[in-house]
Symmetry: C2
Subunit: 384 residues, 2 copies
């Protein structure tokens, strides 16, 4: 397999973009990535999107977006694994370049979530769970993660305050990211006093409903060298599944799909958790970031809450996590999130992250997750 580089990334301001359609959001973002890469034509593209059918009544968006980007007749594939759709797009784009099938591949993610009511959005997001065994009893995603949070608090003594600290940290980072949906700071108190969604999770524990897209351009490392690009290599990829229903798991505090995906990525990259300098992880709810750090081997089982409390994962900490603001502050247009994580890691490794720049980061990791952990995609990047 050939070595693969990320030579361009693009992201536009995320939020409630009522004046823009899915295709507009995508095209604006993709053009930024092509511009950043310095290429006009691509050989193939991937679009991660969780539910364009339920959110905007449009399937077949791979062709729609290739068409509107002016890139038809290139092959274009939409890929989906709920909220990890963006990570999956990156993985398949990587595979296409690595295999020698294509040279320049655009990977992207997009979701337009605010064209429907809150009720309809909650329903659409619920389709990431097991509709016959979970949706049927009326549980929604905040409910599923509330079960995980309660179990984690019970089993490991994780505190309500520690959960809040995840949101506070990510908003602090997000306040330095002008593209974030909510670029402002919050306090532990404001989290603890915010509206209850599903006990113990409050509204400020939850990532928001967001419109947005993100894109990246991949090519063989050899080609990137000829283009005199600052090279960020993808050195590891992993993708794994778990039971879709939480009720089928032995231990709901343990995210096996993330553990398995990370194992593959570490092994391919020949790296260990302690080699990682910077991390973007899937904090769809505050508890998720805690569980994910444990599954990635960044902290011991049960110690995710302590890590945030001790400042280990803050911008100035030992291993900064979610410098972009994470899903919590940056926003969570579900299919786009996995690609936005890549955009942040690339910006950081290139030293282009502005006010939130981490010093001397050379190796970065992204972790993207579908449903309550039914799927997970992990990538490791290295600055050459």
């Amino acid at each position: 397999m050939r070595e693969v580089a990320v030579i361009g990334v693009g992201m536009t301001k995320w939020g409630e973009l009522w004046e823009k359609s899915l295709r507009t959001i995508f095209v604006e973002t993709a053009l930024l990535a092509l511009d950043d890469a310095g290429v006009e034509r691509i050989d193939s593209m991937y679009v991660g999107s969780m539910s364009s059918g339920l959110f905007v009544g449009q399937e077949h968006i791979a062709s729609l977006l290739a068409d509107y980007l002016g890139q038809a007749p290139v092959p274009s594939a939409r890929v989906e694994t709920a909220c990890a759709s963006g990570g999956l797009a990156l993985r398949l784009g990587f595979m296409e370049v690595a295999s020698g099938m294509s040279d320049v591949v655009l990977v992207s993610g997009v979701e337009k979530m605010t064209d429907v009511s809150g009720y309809e959005a909650t329903y659409a997001l619920g389709t990431a769970g097991d509709q016959e065994y979970e949706g049927y009893i009326g549980i929604t995603f905040p409910g599923l993660y509330a079960l995980i949070a309660s179990a984690h608090m019970e089993k490991y003594g994780t505190t309500r305050e520690q959960l809040a600290m995840v949101a506070v940290k990510n908003h602090r980072n997000g306040s330095k990211n002008p593209l974030a949906q909510f670029p402002f700071e919050i306090t532990v108190d404001s989290v603890l006093n915010s509206v209850m969604v599903a006990d113990p999770l409050r509204i400020l524990d939850c990532s928001p409903i967001t419109d947005g897209a993100a894109a990246a351009v991949l090519c063989p490392v050899e080609m990137a060298q000829k283009m005199n690009k600052l090279i960020i290599k993808i050195i590891g990829t992993g993708h794994a599944t778990d039971t879709i229903a939480l009720s089928s798991r032995k231990d709901i505090t343990w995210i096996e799909a993330t553990y398995q995906a990370a194992k593959q990525a570490y092994s391919m990259a020949q790296k260990k958790p302690e080699d990682i300098d910077i991390l973007e992880v899937h904090d769809c709810f505050t508890i998720a970031e805690i569980c994910v750090l444990e599954a990635l081997g960044i902290v011991e089982k049960g110690k995710g809450g302590d890590a945030v409390e001790q400042g280990m994962t803050s911008l100035e900490g030992e291993i900064p996590v979610n410098t972009s603001g994470g899903l919590k502050a940056k926003g969570h247009p579900v299919g786009a999130t996995g690609v936005a994580q890549v955009a942040e890691i690339v910006k950081q490794l290139r030293g282009e992250a502005g006010e939130r720049q981490v010093k001397e980061a050379r190796i970065g990791m992204t972790q993207n997750m579908g449903g309550s952990g039914g799927s997970s995609v992990v990538h490791i990047f290295e600055k050459e």
Copy 2:
């Protein structure tokens, strides 16, 4: 890239399967393919599905189905490009094996379309078109293909009877396929007198609403040889896009995405149209088969109607097309169709097609299409 073989295929009876859920249909079918391949474990899987969100309110089916097949934690990706989702699953599975990333890959397609009303199904299918420019004015898929049919009749003198003959031929083939949804013969008269759907297309010009799945197992040719398998190689793959809206095309009788995908596949396989012995194509409407044969270079532009009238594409003809019964008689569970085409070609090349067996077929081709030709996937297979 490594050479890739199809070592197992599976299909179950298609139809209105009210007593079975999406997951049941999938698992039954996937187990047949694994059994046919003689393997129990896979390294990765792909699921083609157009709109499980709108049809059964379930996204994230890649994980759901890996879980229910007992294959988690393997990577599992759902891929979508409307009605060509199955073909896309095959292409990405091919890429994964060819790249060396995985050895044994399950590719599959599934759609459960009869859990919703006819109106809702028509809406869901309409999301394969451009919802802002086509859906908005109220046009449905029979309407789009009716425009193509009218233009083809006007431009090339294709007759109403020739359209009917496509359906008659495919039902004749389908009557020999016990897994077909409608395994019986029809006549030109019955087509011409069937209910009008969108002038000039009548109900017997249209493929039906179907529940069904199909699956295939891929591995490197070298591994298949060690397993002493009868080897059917994938020697060419092509995937292309076109404008999603019919109104943006220069000539609506010409399916550019199929032409471009075929060009890639012929070039990779080092084959020409005259080398193909047997074909499964995307006859979602009778006119589609006619246009596709032209775009594939099997017949000259404008001669698709004559080809069926002269018997060139019948079971005993020069180049049998849709020996399975095609989408028309076999049924069209949209995401599954592209993989079912592979199942038919493999059965034929192995000499296991029973009553509908074509003599001395060595090279087969599949052509799968999304929307009104906004995407197309083409593969070429060769018996070793």
